[in-house]
């Protein structure tokens, strides 16, 4: 029972940086742009977010600057793919390397320092409910904001005019152009939004989830975020479910180890990844649904004047 409560309580926070970055990437991909620099953006914002909280104590300032820096990197990426018509995959990786390098360089003076973790938000009354209270109503504020952002995004993409434009641009930029939409502008904003979310994700990872900065601490989580978008077949709700599922599996490895079932730990550590593959295989059989949601122009640059 302790084990299950531990997993469920921790899942939301563990999944939050993955989900934040994945939601940002989802919007970029919906507009037809694949940005592989998430890892680098998260790292840079984690380093600077940490540095700012460490020196000023202000989380708000840290999140703002972190998001700003990640947006700056995503603007570099946007310039490469939209002004210079460079390949999206290569540009994303290149900008990602710059971000990783900058994070290590700027974070040098803060290596392995820690912060006081901000206390979780305790929703009055509700958090006193046994078991469920601690799982659902004693999380930090970013967890709740992320869930809200997820549902908000779901509505925007499905039901709002902005969402419609975004989808049309991602489906077929030429048609979007002919309909009078500014394709490059839409894509630029979508990329910036991706940067913003990756920035928040990075700052969350280093100042709230694990209040520590250490070079390389993002450790492939940007890639996981990318995988979550595909896993969720470009649908917000599925991305959210995928993120929380993966977060739970990551914690299950550690929790089950404490029980010592006689299984070598390496097998336990492999489980989240193996389970993800199995779940993916089960849910992917409905090809039509995937095709309906995948942005057709993903990865292809658009040039308005030809």
């Amino acid at each position: 029972m302790d084990t299950i409560i531990f997993i469920l309580t921790g899942t939301f926070a563990t999944a939050t940086p993955l989900l934040l970055a994945a939601l940002g990437e989802l919007v970029a991909e919906k507009s037809g742009i694949i940005n592989l620099s998430i890892e680098g953006m998260m790292a840079l914002s984690a380093a600077m977010g940490f540095a700012i909280v460490y020196t000023t104590g202000s989380h708000l300032l840290a999140f703002a600057v972190a998001a700003g820096l990640a947006m700056l990197l995503s603007a570099v990426f946007a310039t490469l793919v939209m002004f210079f018509s460079a390949n999206q995959v290569a540009s994303g990786l290149a900008v990602g390397i710059l971000g990783l390098g900058l994070s290590a360089l700027l974070g040098r003076d803060y290596e392995s320092l820690t912060l006081q973790a901000p206390s979780a938000l305790s929703v009055p009354i509700l958090s006193d409910i046994p078991i469920l209270g601690s799982i659902l109503f004693q999380q930090d504020i970013v967890v709740y904001m992320t869930i809200t952002a997820g549902f908000g995004l779901m509505w925007i993409i499905q039901h709002s005019r902005v969402g419609l434009i975004l989808r049309i641009v991602g489906e077929n930029p030429h048609i979007a152009h002919n309909l009078g939409f500014n394709v490059l502008q839409v894509r630029f904003l979508a990329i910036l939004f991706g940067g913003f979310m990756a920035g928040i994700a990075g700052a969350y990872a280093s100042t709230i989830l694990t209040p520590i900065w250490s070079q390389g601490m993002i450790l492939g989580r940007g890639w996981i975020a990318l995988a979550l978008v595909v896993f969720g077949t470009w649908r917000v709700l599925r991305v959210m479910i995928g993120a929380y599922l993966f977060g739970a599996l990551l914690l299950a490895d550690l929790a089950v180890q404490t029980l010592n079932l006689g299984i070598p730990s390496q097998i336990m550590t492999s489980m989240p990844y193996a389970m993800t593959i199995v779940v993916l295989a089960i849910i992917s059989r409905d090809t039509l649904r995937i095709r309906l949601n995948a942005p057709v122009s993903l990865g292809q640059n658009y040039r308005p004047n030809h």
């Binding site: 392995s112 390389g216 404490t258 390496q266």
Partner: protein, 357 residues
């Protein structure tokens, strides 16, 4: 060591920009990760600083951090030799084989390697006897563990790590016979602060009294213990800074004296090889940051035990020790020799985990 290194490599580099100075002992110092405030790389670097302070202008040190294991490490070593290094300190187990090959090729070079098991011509290895401090911290843990529940986080089942776990549990059991079913979480990653924190939370949610964090490469678990009001035991450095109220004990390492010995040997021209396994007696290891929650008697018992280890009258790995399958691991009255300690692969009774075999 005034001779210029005459390796083939050195002659080939005709344009290398700044080379090492000529009339001092030139030392290359390689550390595997970025240098933090505590931990392995921090302690290696602190040792280097002691060495530099001790020898002043008689040595010239070029230190490089973040040189990981794998095929790239060799390149940095060779570059240092090419620029005239007389002596190279390698800071990671994974640098061992490259280091041996390096010493073989360069007849005037001395290589000092941390944490391996091989020695060779002009290739020395050193390791602190971490397990001694582990035993002492285990005693502290045994004293404060009201529910007799201990939890350990470890990166990989290296023999050194297993030795430390064993000594820790033996120390705890020596003062608290109720200690059993010590839980272990293996991180299976060299470095992952978030995972380290979650592992700590997993153990804490299971109700442990004391958390022992073994070589995690980050103080994340220690600060997690502090936040949750659980005692923390740290490796390598005093981590009090990260757990101001719940820091129970730490094994503090001191590498400086080891380095100074090797540099002296090198300067006197009598360096050949070496296998330094230095502990409390040699000043390479001590307990630090003992919690004020321990009673005076308990602190005195721990310090007394440390004194016995210094004097050589007590050794944690003295039989009878049974492993966690119930078999005899160390016979009655026998003490494990160095190679037995350095290649330890049994878990003592009371450790509740599984190793691959």
């Amino acid at each position: 060591m005034k001779k210029k290194n005459l390796s083939v490599l050195a002659t080939m580099i005709c344009l290398a920009a700044p080379t090492f100075a000529d009339n001092t002992l030139n030392i290359g110092f390689i550390v595997p990760n970025p240098i933090g405030e505590v931990g392995w790389d921090h302690e290696l670097d602190r040792g280097r600083q002691m060495m530099e302070a001790h020898f002043g202008d008689n040595i010239s040190v070029t230190a490089v951090d973040s040189v990981g294991e794998g095929p790239d490490a060799t390149r940095m070593m060779n570059r240092m030799v090419a620029q005239g290094a007389d002596m190279i300190f390698l800071g990671s187990f994974g640098h061992m084989n490259d280091g041996i090959a390096l010493a073989k090729r360069n007849k005037d070079l001395a290589v000092i390697h941390a944490g391996g098991y091989l020695t060779g011509e002009r290739f020395a290895t050193y390791a602190p006897r971490h397990y001694q401090a582990s035993y002492l911290c285990g005693m502290a843990a045994g004293y404060v563990a009201e529910n007799a529940k201990l939890g350990i986080i470890a990166a990989f089942p290296l023999p050194e790590v297993i030795g430390m776990m064993n000594a820790y549990v033996l120390g705890a059991q020596s003062v608290n016979s109720a200690i059993d079913n010590v839980q272990v979480v293996w991180l299976n990653s060299w470095f992952d602060p978030a995972r380290n924190r979650s592992a700590a939370e997993a153990l804490i949610s299971g109700g442990i009294d004391v958390l022992y964090s073994l070589f995690p490469g980050t103080p994340a678990a220690i600060s997690t213990a502090e936040e949750n009001g659980v005692y923390a035991v740290a490796t390598l450095s005093n981590n009090s800074k990260f757990a101001p109220t719940k820091h129970l004990c730490a094994g503090q390492t001191h590498f400086g004296a080891i380095y100074i010995d090797y540099v002296n040997a090198m300067m006197n021209g009598n360096f050949t090889s070496g296998d330094t396994f230095a502990g409390i007696a040699e000043g390479a290891m001590e307990v630090a940051g003992l919690s004020l929650d321990l009673t005076d008697e308990q602190r005195i018992a721990i310090i007394t035990k440390q004194d016995e280890m210094r004097a050589g009258t007590f050794d944690p790995f003295t039989g009878l020790i049974t492993d966690n399958t119930g078999a005899e691991a160390v016979p009655e009255g026998v003490s494990l020799d160095i190679s037995g300690i350095k290649s330890m692969n049994f878990l003592v009774q009371g450790l509740d985990t599984t190793l691959p075999n």
